[in-house]
Symmetry: C2
Subunit: 682 residues, 2 copies
């Protein structure tokens, strides 16, 4: 009667084609079941496709030739696997989305900055609660934060290529950074970055994940109480570039070896890391170098007007390797627990340079060889390509066109630009393929421009820096992504447009429309849209696309007794037969196990006012044998994966008889997997 | 430079096929843009499919014939619409999922019981906060509930068919019910049902949405403090069947005209409404009529063992029309604000009867003609079909086999059963097509059985009550759904298996696996699986599938100044030019507008300790022109749809300069849509 057994029996009748990645899972099943005959290699049909039948079927469904081809290009048969994962930020949902390509199926939402009751994240269990609490400003006056605006995911890298170990993501709303472990797809840490109020720039990781970078968006006052009137904006407000060191064993943030660099009070925007040729350097866009503060109801003009006055803003060029040496040499100040290199030191030590970039830039992207830095001014029809070698020469020759108001040297624009390409209206972000092509999204034009880089990217002199073609998207695209398109080795093949508006692309779901991810075939010429994919669970900003088989550290089942926070055996792990209740005064510790289809113990007797500490071990060893643990009227909901230990602490404030239960359908007698919490009145 | 304009320009280059439903939107655009030339009727490709090319493409991607056909049967071309919406409960995510069929694309998650920062639901705005607070037990000692276990969605009906007005859903964890308005896809009300602790049975609506039914799952003590020891289970614990009257104008709950019926302390499970022949009656399954309470660590046996001892449990047969008359006649008691018919009155008035049903039933489903009530015992290989006419005859003839321990008459099993069909191991739920066929999910077998009903469903005597075929699914199916399969007029065509386990069906996303919705072609013989769809945002339990064009009340844009709570003009609506700040002592009221790309006012000066009431009107009139409003470090996040008014109240507890911003990408200068909240220190 074991569901697992039945699973395999069911599988043997029809099953699903088993891919490389799932042999591990099959092995796990084998341990449980003893036999997996029939699961491996079984196929849905078998007979090959007959052209006539397919054409008739396409006709019957009203699909034209291109649509029928798109169907065949994007379909992933039942039981088979997508070739790529996309990791998408959820925007103000605060989460991360995992999507398969080319099917565009949403595989999972990973909670990061926002509680998620399905996964028991932030609903009474230690894991989620601890991570979320750790991510809130520890100041006693601070509001506890239960959401974030997740913007830019960054997969960990080794030698500039994705290595599938960890994922980092920033909270644009509150200036925080989170870390997701790709072994179990769980968020393990959130850090509230000191001296930053909001963050847009980054997250990016350096080529060997030495650092995860996060910079401030709107500058904040460096004052005791965090307040300064806007009349003191130029003097007291400052931006910050943060280099968060990463522990190479755990992927966590190493605050001791992290540092910040003070920046002028511009609005620092997106950022990217140098690679190969430009290894050791980082680049940050900025806008509102005019330092407009608004005041549209006070006789002033809105920021949108004041911030677009100047023809140029500034690309920040940072030597992070040298900055780390400066910090090591002790040339920093301590500010709210972070080592900070002052703006003056950054200037004196040659850690920070500026380059003019056309109007209100948004994206900055380094090409695969590391030679070119591409920026797009939202109000300029061109993409501007900087040449890293020219930047270095200009720095050596002190080829400056002056300094900004804060004394930061400004490189001579003409000396550092490799080329400009007119792409269209409202260019934002750029991604790359392996053949020297760049792809730039254009919000206002609702289109993507394909254009060529220069000779250092393998393009001939004659073909360099030319517009190849433009493809309309639907509608108002923000970011875009190509397969592994921001690594040293892009795959080409697929591109996804992250459209902010969908308008009429999907049947109405009310006044808030979903976004629209559009899958584009990079091997087609002209470029063809294959699929429209609604995003109705958040507003993704940036996405990275990684080959499925690169996530080699994935776990499908924890060793029994695992604490996901440490990935080691929990001190509270409880084996069958060792379940017990320990009472010390008004504190009750319960060591419980969960096994299809009962909890042991299944009756908990406490008194009103008692503090109850539940330690629950899911002693299952089969993949997918998750149990939930929910307590009515107590706002407690845990998801306990096979092998996992969760700890739940609560005060029994209200008398009553409460039927706790397994909230994850686990077995034929799942509904009977229930028990009683009896809170006796005082 | 208006994105809307560009949208249409972009659309005119490639555009998307515009369906009936979106002409409204196009019209809205027309008002904004003045011209929509090119949007209507534009197509992606144009040339028809060539069979050879498709077969080659299928071959190249390794698709066999059946897989290639499945691709063409499920593909919905870019810009075209799905034929059906599925409304799925999110399980312990607490939400509702809207999924398109046949593409299986997730169109939107509607927050119901759990906060959602993307939609600004429960993050400082009145709408979400008010709804969520209203759904918590008002007792001051009660914990505020910020999640639910959404189980059974029920679309509103007229004459037994979906009418597309409202959706109701229960919270299994806390005994609550929520209402979603399908005009704007927003949750408008949550009610914490008195005298119920947990709820599984229902939700179902009566054929004209007179009532939404919700019953208790685990019984609770009818005592002052809600507590009673388990030794008093038989005497003091009771179940409840609740009939929540629906206001036909608003779809909201009318507590004054709602009532409850006291039930024995069994674990009441799923429920369904009679229709046509059986109009006026309701049916509720039950299990654990043994009244096992567990005690596996106290020398007792787990509930899963005690609750499966008896060969039969009881189908509850309730005459709700007569019950309403009894209440109208005043024959009820008041209990915690609800009118309750006591168990004795229910017996005396002939409102409640029991019928034996084989072991530990889960699903109860009434067929389209209303003649048959199908139940499935989880531990019985048969589905059991009751005949409503026979039930009525048995009641008239007092053809009872006795009474239960509480005096409720038990109908003679043989007198009321129309037939039994052996389907397989672990049958759970049944859905129907329009041809007299029934489809029953089997958890343990991981399969669905197709079988025939009786002559009253139009089946010949010879073919009645026979197993037709069985199709394996992957894996461990719970509920299933057929197109409009629980109405008086099912469509057939599509069936979806809601599989609880996916094991190896998708590339690993860590230790918590997604569920697997499998789309099945009901027109195929034998039945064929078309598509595997991962569900990684919750654990759906039940789903209803409705034709897209039945949602006629959908709004894409609110009239400017709308309060979604009332769907009328808000008293706080602010027109451009009327923006203002009103200060009364330490209370500051801000009347603000949001318009691409600025807020007015964009500077808010308050003092530490002030109470701030923001009233923000999105004055946009274009579909999809949503603005967000986020305040760093304040846990405030609003999503303001075009025309919508939101109200946000908070205390400025911490001094500082906070850059509030639009969190929904709205325009080319979205990043510049920002302002300052200045909280001056005391």
């Amino acid at each position: 009667m074991s569901p697992i057994l039945k699973v395999v029996v069911g599988g043997s009748r029809k099953g699903g084609a088993v891919k490389r990645g799932s042999l591990v899972m099959v092995a796990v099943l084998a341990l449980v079941v003893g036999a997996v005959v029939g699961v491996v290699g079984a196929r849905l049909g078998g007979e090959t496709a007959t052209g006539g039948g397919l054409a008739d079927l396409a006709e019957a469904r009203g699909l034209d030739g291109q649509q029928a081809e798109a169907a065949l290009k994007t379909f992933v048969p039942p039981g088979e696997y997508d070739e790529y994962y996309m990791f998408a930020s959820g925007g103000h949902s605060g989460q991360v989305l995992v999507i398969g390509v080319p099917s565009m199926r949403l595989l999972k939402e990973i909670p990061v900055f926002t509680p998620d009751s399905w996964q028991g994240y932030g609903y009474g269990t230690d894991q989620g609660n601890t991570v979320l609490a750790g991510g809130s400003d520890q100041d006693k006056d601070a509001t506890e934060l239960t959401w974030g605006d997740a913007h830019h995911p960054a997969l960990s890298e080794t030698e500039g290529d994705y290595d599938g170990r960890w994922l980092y993501i920033n909270d644009r709303a509150n200036g925080r950074i989170g870390m997701v472990d790709l072994a179990d797809f769980k968020t393990k840490e959130i850090v509230d970055i000191p001296n930053i109020s909001t963050s847009h720039g980054g997250v990016f990781v350096t080529p060997n994940t030495e650092y995860a970078h996060i910079s401030s968006m709107t500058p904040m006052p460096f004052t005791e109480n965090g307040y300064a009137d806007l009349s003191e904006y130029n003097e007291k407000y400052r931006g910050v570039s943060s280099w968060m060191a990463i522990d190479q064993a755990t992927g966590r943030f190493d605050l001791e070896n992290s540092f910040q660099i003070e920046l002028p009070p511009y609005t620092q925007d997106l950022a990217d890391a140098g690679k190969l040729t430009s290894f050791g350097w980082g680049f940050i866009n900025s806008y509102n170098t005019e330092r407009a503060v608004g005041g549209d109801a006070e006789g002033g003009e809105p920021i949108e007007t004041g911030a677009i006055a100047a023809d140029y803003d500034f690309l920040h060029i940072i030597n992070w390797q040298k900055a780390a040496e400066v910090v090591a040499a002790g040339d920093y100040v301590e500010r709210n627990g972070m080592k900070m290199i002052t703006l003056q030191t950054a200037i004196d030590e040659g850690l920070l340079y500026l380059a003019p970039e056309p109007r209100n830039p948004h994206g900055v992207d380094v090409n695969p060889t590391g030679d070119y830095i591409v920026v797009s001014g939202k109000l300029d029809p061109n993409v501007t390509v900087f040449d890293f070698e020219k930047i270095q020469t200009a720095i050596q020759n002190q080829d400056f066109q002056g300094t900004d108001d804060y004394g930061v040297p400004i490189l001579n624009f003409d000396s550092v630009v490799a080329g400009q390409v007119e792409v269209g209206v409202g260019p934002l972000h750029t991604q790359f393929d392996g053949d020297g092509n760049a792809y730039t999204s254009m919000f206002v034009d609702s289109a993507i421009a394909k254009w060529t880089l220069g000779t250092k990217a393998g393009v001939s002199e004659a073909d360099a820096f030319k517009l190849v073609e433009t493809i309309p998207v639907h509608y108002n695209i923000g970011h875009l992504v190509t397969a592994e398109g921001d690594t040293v080795a892009p795959d080409g093949k697929y591109m996804v447009a992250l459209n902010k508006w969908s308008i009429d692309r999907f049947p109405s779901v009310g006044t808030l429309h979903p976004q629209n991810f559009q899958l584009i075939d990079l091997d087609s010429s002209p470029l063809q849209i294959l699929y429209d994919s609604p995003i109705g669970v958040g507003e993704p900003h940036y996405v990275q696309m990684i080959k499925t088989d690169k996530l080699t550290s994935r776990l499908d089942v924890y060793p029994v007794g695992t604490d996901p926070a440490t990935m080691t055996t929990s001190e509270f792990a409880t084996a069958p037969g060792e379940e017990r209740v320990e009472r010390n005064g008004s504190v009750v510790d319960v060591y419980m196990t969960a096994l299809r289809s009962h909890f042991t113990p299944d009756i908990l007797r406490v008194k009103e006012g008692d503090t109850v500490n539940l330690h629950i071990t899911n002693v299952e060893t089969a993949a997918d044998a998750t149990h939930g643990f929910a307590v009515p009227q107590h706002n407690i909901e845990a998801s306990i994966d096979p092998g996992e230990v969760v700890n739940i602490s609560f005060k029994a404030v209200k008398s009553g008889s409460f039927a706790f239960y397994c909230s994850e359908f686990c077995s034929a007698l799942h509904l009977e997997m229930q028990g009683w919490l009896l809170v006796e009145p005082k």
